[in-house]
Symmetry: none
Subunit: 212 residues, 4 copies
Amino acid sequence: MAVQKSQPAPGKPAPDSTRRSEKSRRAIYDAALALVVEVGYPKTTIEGIAARAGVGKQTIYRWWSSKADVLMEAFLDLAEQSTEEAGAVPYTFPDTGDLAADLKAVLRATVDELRDPRFEAPSRALAAEGVVNEQLGRELVAKLMQPSLDLYIGRLRAAQDAGQVRPEIDPRIALEFFISPLAQRWLQHTGPISHEYTDTLVDYALHGLAPR
Amino acid sequence: MAVQKSQPAPGKPAPDSTRRSEKSRRAIYDAALALVVEVGYPKTTIEGIAARAGVGKQTIYRWWSSKADVLMEAFLDLAEQSTEEAGAVPYTFPDTGDLAADLKAVLRATVDELRDPRFEAPSRALAAEGVVNEQLGRELVAKLMQPSLDLYIGRLRAAQDAGQVRPEIDPRIALEFFISPLAQRWLQHTGPISHEYTDTLVDYALHGLAPR
Amino acid sequence: MAVQKSQPAPGKPAPDSTRRSEKSRRAIYDAALALVVEVGYPKTTIEGIAARAGVGKQTIYRWWSSKADVLMEAFLDLAEQSTEEAGAVPYTFPDTGDLAADLKAVLRATVDELRDPRFEAPSRALAAEGVVNEQLGRELVAKLMQPSLDLYIGRLRAAQDAGQVRPEIDPRIALEFFISPLAQRWLQHTGPISHEYTDTLVDYALHGLAPR
Amino acid sequence: MAVQKSQPAPGKPAPDSTRRSEKSRRAIYDAALALVVEVGYPKTTIEGIAARAGVGKQTIYRWWSSKADVLMEAFLDLAEQSTEEAGAVPYTFPDTGDLAADLKAVLRATVDELRDPRFEAPSRALAAEGVVNEQLGRELVAKLMQPSLDLYIGRLRAAQDAGQVRPEIDPRIALEFFISPLAQRWLQHTGPISHEYTDTLVDYALHGLAPR
DNA sequence: GCCTAACCGAGACGGTACGTCGAGTCTTAAT
DNA sequence: ATTAAGACTCGACGTACCGTCTCGGTTAGGC
């Protein structure tokens, strides 16, 4: 499960990645994440990252095309490490047979993650960049979000097979009832996020707003 | 409803707003919006706005505290104008008695607005800024989104009174089923937005995912 | 006798010289000369000058087109100041009636000046630059050397009128017998320079190498 | 006469010159001279020379200590080749018994050489470097100029023996009347150089400026 | 109808960061 | 062991904007 390297500015003679310094790469990831946490994304500069990592600026420009690009890889790397560290099987979704309970459990974990300060600053920064820069946005979605979304889809399909979700429902849309309200509250500061809140989302979504 | 001017950096002798040049203000709004559309938010600079507006830099710094601040006011102004232009009663929500139909109608209009290129660039820029800058984010929510959200709340309460929505539902959460998925698809490029899509959202949300 | 300002890079909107900061100009001159003396010309950088002068780099680039250009003006300014300081009538050549004595006196003064450490580093640097960069070289000749050369020509013509120099001699060539050997020894380190040496030059040049 | 290799940075384990690649050396000389002619000395870089010569940078740093050092050897090599090529006995000075004629002939040849574009760029570059870098300057004088100067001294001494030059004249100073004015005009662009000019120098110098 | 304060266009200023280039060092593979 | 190749750290380049600070020149009210 290797991290895909992003392309540096095209037209340049591609650097030889076999000779790349692993030490520098790690130092750059660490410096970038630390700076984003400490001083915020806009005040995080390529020069600052280079200085903190004890690395020449050119070494950053050689392998990445922008600050956002560095941060994205750093964040992907962080996510990978955290997953490994947690010892968890990385990409699974609980299936106890109780759809509501499973969704609530996963969403509670997501809430906790969104509040982890190690994740908050860089993921906000990346999300903001993705809003404005479509190319980066799509990369983010593909690399960071899609794997999780696929798990939701799988779980919802299983629920359909078990007769707990109506068969005509499109799981790719249904999952947004759980993900999107949480995402918007977090991204746009439109409201607080909590375990109770996500529990409520699950209940509302499964049973609908209208009386039965 | 006059646009509230934002405070310039505190500690300064407050400028006398009665002597402010209306012509400059308009020129600055126009230049800011045009530049964001033409070159994108990150490449829009205060110097660029000043030059294009034929205005001194100080005139911008005197009345606004940041690029985002200028753009926010410019955008609010644009939104106001558009509303007036449309001749519409600005802040109402249809109530035909058919909740689903009313929601679908409003969401279709929202989809159309999100696709209007005049709106897209600046509102993306502001949204992105709001993700990262909490203070600005809250201002955006309060000034740009809250009025609309309140209309949703009002309509949902009416539906509750009419027995079309279960009484224990919190309308402030319920409205997110309509707003948030659309917002996320648009903000994060996670999927296409269309009238069919929002129609589906309304149906799913009202009747729930589970079989009845 | 104003210092001619050199042209910044053409094609740029010419800066308004009436608003130029005299303080910055002085500080830049001082820093440039000091650095050339202290660390040598090649290690003198625009950044270094700016930092030492407490000035933004742009302020240098706004008014000068290169390091050599800065240094040339700084040196011209220094020369001017020194002349004023010395209280001397700036552009005269002694005429006691004794050509040999007058030439020897002036050349002895020149030798002293060439050895003054305040002058040595910058003038070497400029001379070197002028060797390789013809445009700058011609400017140097015109602004720094020509006035002195003209004085030699004047004195030699007077000597011709007085019958002390053959009338068919071209003073513009003759003066090189006094100037050029000294210049070459100094520039190219081909030999030591001293009062005795220049005295000898005068004697040899006036009376020739061949027996009479 | 083998070219003495200059010392690389001291303190390093001296490379084994018996295993040196002659092909690389030649390629480096050619590349260095070509680049100086084509793009000028300041824009000639070690990287550029290495790339053009198809050589690793280290190969240059191993054997030379600086750009000027490379160029000096390259130029010495060029001078040697040219001399051989010309088939001439390398280090002689004509002695027809007519001092004036001999000097004029040699100076005319010098003028022609100074105008040869193959020589001009590199020798200007070296001269400029020598003005500012005393160590290199002295090396240049010793290796490039001294042999010629010695020939002048020899010829002048012969002339003294023949009674054509006054015995009390120091030939080491006298020769500067022929060399230095030409050198200065060429180096500092203070005037045009031509056969007529050098002829005039010889006449003026031999017979003096004063009436006889 | 004048005075005088504030605003205005303009843009120079001290700075920070940009993205690029080259210096000189170090590592790898191949000859 | 030298070589071609090129990644590395470092420092300077010249540019773009930042936010502050003068400059005249309008442009109001308050007298």
